[in-house]
Symmetry: C2
Subunit: 450 residues, 2 copies
């Protein structure tokens, strides 16, 4: 069904022995996404060689833009300034920005200076938009038409222009360049030749401001099932478009980010990132984790007296902490995902918090009951069960439910990522509070427990 | 930029007081996705009323298909069989299946029996494909052309047929219905009227078998930046298509599933799912969690003697368990995400496992060093630090790195979801093994610790 992968070892063998032309013929008319995969696992000289072959066939930009974002910087680092700048001049404007963005700060300026003036101005404009805005990733390669253009006139203009990267809608603008409507390509196909675009356009189409957050724009495309979203400036002038394939990339990236941030991972920490870089990126989170664990440890330290007196208590500590941590993680996951999918507004957030606390209280009642009965059967002391069940309700019901729901919402309100370190923070909190409630109650009632 | 939301309270007020026509005028030409949002938070009689208004305007199917999957069953339950079956007859084939799939088993058969024979056969065919396969969600509403059709002939045929749900490619089939090529709509627009589709088609296009997993098909569309993917049967006959908006839904659903399964959540457990249903869905996971926590607890129970002798050890238990659990969760997250994005094949999986173990060992060395120094400064005993650091390296370095990487891969190999309960399982394992290594080493060296 799907194209068979190009054999990696054959390509390496050919890079050693065959002429560039033969390598190119072997790669053939394969999709750039398949060609990009070839760069994985090549040695630096082989990367340069493969790049040169693609570059001379003018196919390097299309292939490199398909690379996973964590691999692109390493490949670009192997290519000299001259070739890199020439590739950037030939690339689509949005891909040009992707390449520039993947360069280290000091090289970025050097490469921009090497571009021809037109491309330089384009790149400078796009990278002037903040990271995370749609302006930063939109393509400026689109065609506009006046409302008076006829269907036949539009077809002639498209034919003249030739291939465009992506082309699903005709954008209709007024004399000042302000977007006034769109005509889906399929409507153009069936339109009478003399009909004007102004007559058949969808007026006042869904659009986004250049400064809109990428994720918000992606949600617009997804909600309204669009193929492309026009991007306008403050005055309504059409500045660029983002297409549905960009949107898929944004959605994938967003989901990775949320899962990663929950676990305390940096986005670049991918499955084949070098060990040293992964370690460097995980260390700060490990330190945060050591700090939250130390909080839990100091709570335990407070109760050494009680524990020494009734050593059996120590056995139940992992249960209180584990179940509380899991409940908090579940709650945080539901809230974080609802925020990402645009299902949760601040106005109705309190309802969500109340609901999560209720769910956790019900589960705490059930789990507390089970553990109370188990403790009674095992240790023969009914009070131990009561203390365990009460601690479970306080920790899993109240602390886990409340912190799991509120922490992501507060982070979001403070304009941080709602998932940031959520897993580490809520499990740290429920560890600490779980020990506090369990050992605190046990200390109060120690007369009944030993 | 985006359309202002329709005011919810105004609609409720109008449902009470205004004529159906006025409500319909108020909702106006709004997008079905916006109309769907109105159903949220309505009382059952209001739901029926709004449905009836949309139904009589033949807009009910388009609106309901935009509902989040966890809300659809509740709305459909309020609609009587007769209207529901008439709506399903009018709906696009893939939406018809969505509605049927949202019904309880016993009602499903009743509704299918009420459909007209043609639609009944269509629905029966689509629901005969397994859940999770592309066959199950494809639309059968597409147009085919013979290779000999001219560009002008194709345009005439499209004009005759009128509006299709989605229409980006012309599918070229042979006399037996076998897919032989596709023509992107934009190429048709600029083609000379007499040119045949056979001449301009992309031969042997990327396609998927009806039984292909939905996620795999979504990755094909995303990788090759397609707008629609043709779905064929064993003999290559074109059976349906899936479009890029389906793909976005699949990708969203997949990401939710992975995050949810990691935390031990059922997919239907959304932010506004009723409390009783959320509790019911979380309980089995809580029981699994109680079991893993009991494993950790029984390990602790083995060492009550040592703990009683050196009560200070208890303070460090949360640190060993917490840091181990977090490391394992990080590792599992990286692996699960790489599997989902198609970045990790079984053939190279051992490299990923080795890498993750190395990363965790490095982090364990650093964290173990910190905790050893801290323990020495605090308790004045260098051996305690050594025991802590060794336990950290064994638990975080080996167990967390290995289990976090291997468990998702094993689940995947066994055709389970790689994320299934991963968070609960790996934190349970690292709790238990963390206590075993820490308290075990402490017992061995207890002469030096007290």
């Amino acid at each position: 069904m799907k194209p068979a992968p190009i054999d990696h070892n054959t390509v390496r063998e050919m890079l050693r022995t065959a002429t560039p032309d033969r390598v190119l013929r072997f790669i053939g008319q394969r999709h750039p996404a398949d060609i990009a995969l070839l760069f994985k696992g090549l040695e630096p000289p082989e990367v340069r060689q493969l790049f040169d072959i693609l570059f001379s066939a003018r196919r390097a930009d299309k292939a490199l833009k398909e690379l996973p974002p964590e691999l692109l910087p390493d490949i670009l680092a192997l290519i000299d300034d001259d070739k890199l700048s020439r590739m950037i001049v030939r690339a689509d404007p949005d891909d040009a920005v992707t390449f520039i963005d993947s360069l280290p700060e000091e090289r970025r300026e050097r490469i921009i200076a090497l571009l021809d003036p037109e491309r330089r101005a384009e790149v400078r404009e796009l990278i002037s938009y903040p990271e995370g805005s749609v302006g930063r990733i939109m393509t400026t390669d689109f065609m506009t038409f006046l409302p008076s253009t006829t269907a036949q006139g539009a077809i002639d203009k498209i034919r003249e222009r030739g291939e465009l990267e992506t082309f699903f809608y005709l954008y209709v603008v007024d004399e000042a360049g302000k977007l006034v409507g769109v005509v889906p390509l399929r409507n153009l196909v069936v339109a009478p030749p003399n009909r004007s675009l102004g007559d058949m356009m969808i007026a006042d189409p869904i659009k986004a401001n250049v400064m809109m957050d990428q994720e918000e724009a992606a949600r617009l495309v997804s909600k309204y099932e669009l193929l492309a979203l026009p991007i306008v400036d403050e005055s309504g002038r059409l500045e660029g478009i983002i297409t549905v394939d960009d949107v898929i990339d944004i959605i994938d990236k967003e989901a990775t980010e949320d899962m990663y941030k929950m676990a305390g991972l940096a986005e670049e920490d991918r499955v084949f990132t070098p060990v040293s870089r992964s370690v460097k990126m995980r260390l700060p989170w490990t330190i945060l984790n050591l700090m939250t664990a130390t909080l839990a440890a100091s709570v335990v330290g407070l109760f050494e007296g009680t524990l020494h007196e009734i050593i059996a208590l120590v056995t139940f500590m992992p249960v209180i902490a584990g179940v509380g941590g899991n409940g908090a993680t579940q709650t945080a996951t539901v809230i974080i995902r609802a925020i990402a999918l645009g299902e949760l507004e601040f106005s109705s957030a309190w309802k969500a918090v109340v609901k999560q606390v209720l769910v956790n209280i019900c589960i705490a009642l059930a789990a507390g009951g089970v553990i109370a009965v188990a403790a009674f059967l095992w240790k023969g002391n009914p009070y131990l069960g009561l203390v365990l069940a009460s601690a479970m309700i306080l920790n899993l019901g109240l602390v886990a439910g409340f912190s799991g729901a509120v922490i992501p919402l507060v982070l979001k309100a403070l304009k941080f990522d709602p998932a940031m370190g959520a897993g580490i923070i809520v499990t740290g909190l429920t560890d600490a509070f779980g020990f506090l409630s369990f050992l605190g109650l046990a200390t109060l009632f120690r007369g009944y427990l030993s």
